[in-house]
């Protein structure tokens, strides 16, 4: 009998050993599992911690990002504002650019450090006959016409006024690209440019037409002057003959002439003389309208006294007393104002002819920006009823028998004062004298017109 179904002790012991080994294995594996479990638990813990940290970090980051977003928002907003501003500026610049482009005047800018043209507007280029952009970068000397004056001197003169007043205005002779010379009126000023430094800006107006008109006017005036002169001289020769031969008859034939005959001849002679005076006065009157005025400061009291002395020397037989008050200086054409005093004072002397002593007074009342001057006499005076006629040409309020004269003197005075933008008027009373007033601008300091 073999016990096949009964396990031998050895086999059981083997099985037990196997079981024990397996048990040990399992325990070992259990322990490993536990260790792994522990590890896993530790890892879990770590994970949780990391997760927590992560969440904190996320929160922080989110806050940071929020802040950044807010900042970006603000930046975006201010960018939007800036864009708005820039748009406005751009519109403004576009407008200014349009203005410069479409201006009917030429503008150019010169960099003062080296005299280079740094900007021209289209009109300027057109005026000078250059293509767009052709003038920029060139020296300003290309536009200046040669003059007999040293160009440096001209520049210095202009710079002096520019530096003093900030502006210069005046006529300049320019030259176009093709060499044509033409005149412009330039309005110049200076300013500091961030890129170019000190810059001169000039606005040019083509005054060719005006100059041409001026020249035509000057020529016409010259012609008229020559004509008047020649007419007056051609008229004078026969007058001299009339006067001369009448006198000759009176001298040579007076024994054969009765008093009437002599009287007639005297009338002829007197009228010839009078006509001569009329011609002179008319010439002077017409010349006055065409003469250019040169303004300067006038010492009015000195002028009045000088004129009076001259007049006095031509009437040595008269008793004349002049009172010149302290009168303020004025601004005007000295030669013309001399004429005014001459006419008014000689009138005063003339019309006081019937008085024993002529008392003539020159004075003034200051009023606003105009000075009122007067010449007063104690002579024949006039009726205020006819005051409007006083200043007309050839108007007289007295007959030639009472007082000689052609009646142009006051008209001349009125014309001169009008040219000075002043007024002239008179007050008088028959036999009680007359006062003639006139206004001219106050002394300003020697400006030339």
């Amino acid at each position: 009998m073999s016990p096949k179904n009964i396990l031998s002790e050895d086999a059981l012991l083997n099985i037990l050993d196997d079981l024990n080994a397996s048990k040990k294995d399992i325990e070992k594996k259990n322990m490993e599992l536990e260790a792994t479990s522990k590890e896993l638990r530790a890892i879990n813990k770590k994970n949780l911690k990391l997760q927590e940290e992560l969440e904190i970090k996320i929160a922080e980051r989110t806050e940071e990002l929020n802040e950044k977003v807010q900042k970006l928002d603000k930046t975006q907003k201010s960018s939007l504002y800036m864009i708005e501003d820039l748009n406005e500026i751009q519109t403004e610049l576009r407008l200014q650019s349009e203005i410069a482009s479409n201006l009917s005047e030429g503008i150019y800018l010169i960099r003062m450090s080296d005299g280079i043209i740094v900007y021209t507007n289209p009109k300027f280029e057109e005026m000078f006959g250059y293509a767009l952009g052709e003038m920029v970068g060139k020296n300003v000397s290309i536009v200046n016409a040669p003059t007999d004056k040293d160009p440096e001197e001209t520049v210095n003169e202009i710079m002096e006024i520019l530096n003093k007043t900030g502006e210069w205005h005046g006529e300049v002779n320019n030259v176009k690209k093709d060499g044509t010379l033409f005149w412009c009126y330039a309005n110049v000023s200076l300013f500091d440019h961030p890129k170019y430094g000190q810059v001169l800006i000039s606005v040019h107006t083509d005054i060719t037409d005006r100059k041409r008109a001026d020249e035509a006017l000057k020529a016409a005036n010259k012609e008229l002057e020559a004509f008047s002169y020649s007419v007056s001289h051609d008229l004078r020769a026969p007058l001299r003959a009339i006067d001369g031969f009448s006198s000759a008859v009176l001298e040579d034939y007076s024994p054969r002439l009765d008093s009437e005959g002599q009287r007639y001849l005297n009338i002829i002679s007197d009228n010839a003389k009078k006509m001569g005076e009329l011609i002179d006065d008319l010439l002077a009157f017409s010349r006055l309208g065409r003469k250019e005025m040169t303004k300067s400061d006038i010492d009015m009291s000195k002028l009045a006294k000088t004129v009076f002395e001259e007049l006095k020397s031509t009437t040595p037989d008269r008793k004349l007393r002049l009172k010149v008050k302290d009168i303020p200086p004025a601004s005007g054409d000295k030669a013309m104002i001399n004429q005014v005093f001459s006419n008014l004072l000689s009138n005063a002397i003339k019309f006081t002819g019937l008085k024993d002593t002529a008392i003539i007074e020159v004075g003034s009342n200051g009023e606003g920006d105009q000075n009122v001057y007067y010449v007063k006499d104690n002579g024949a005076g006039f009726d205020m009823k006819y005051v409007d006629k006083l200043f007309g040409v050839f108007q007289r309020l007295h007959s030639a028998e009472e007082f000689e004269g052609t009646g142009v003197g006051l008209a001349l005075v009125k014309r001169i004062i009008n040219r000075h933008s002043g007024k002239v008027w008179a007050e008088g009373e028959v036999n009680k004298g007359a006062t003639f007033y006139f206004t001219i601008p106050q002394k300003r300091g020697g400006e030339k017109t």
Partner: protein
């Protein structure tokens, strides 16, 4: 030269009235008897240079003074003056321009050509007479003429 000059004044004037009044004024001072009148620039030149109508004259017979008007027919006063000054034989003759022109250009040009004096004819007759008398007295009596 000790010859008595037959001519004292050469009056060059185209206006007959002015001529007559001038002579009349000179006559008053007994200065008129040695005046010759030329009525235009051409006649004046013929007289001075002794040619044309005056070929029988002698150039050396120079006037003491020439009263010369500017506005003359044929040859103008300034041209006459220039010709007188350009010739050695006549250049020292005193010339007084007596004219109605007060034009600056005329005055400048006259002096530039060497005129001795420039007088503008007074318009007023009395003044004219006075001027002519003074001129006559001055140039004929007071002034020393160039000797040759």
């Amino acid at each position: 030269m000790n010859n008595q000059k037959t001519l004292e004044i050469l009056l060059v004037e185209d206006n007959p009235s002015d001529v007559e009044l001038t002579l009349r004024a000179l006559r008053k001072h007994k200065l008129a008897n040695k005046v010759h009148v030329a009525k235009d620039g051409a006649e004046a030149l013929e007289y001075i240079f002794a040619n044309g109508d005056y070929s029988d004259r002698k150039i050396e017979d120079r006037p003491k003074v020439i009263f010369l008007d500017l506005k003359l027919p044929k040859v103008s006063g300034l041209e006459v003056l220039k010709k007188i000054r350009d010739d050695e034989r006549t250049k020292t003759i005193p010339v007084v321009i007596v004219t109605s022109s007060r034009e600056e250009q005329d005055i400048i040009e006259s002096y530039r050509l060497g005129v001795n004096s420039y007088i503008v004819k007074p318009v007023d007759f009395d003044n004219f007479v006075r001027a002519v008398s003074e001129l006559g007295l001055y140039w004929l009596l007071l002034n020393e003429p160039p000797t040759e």
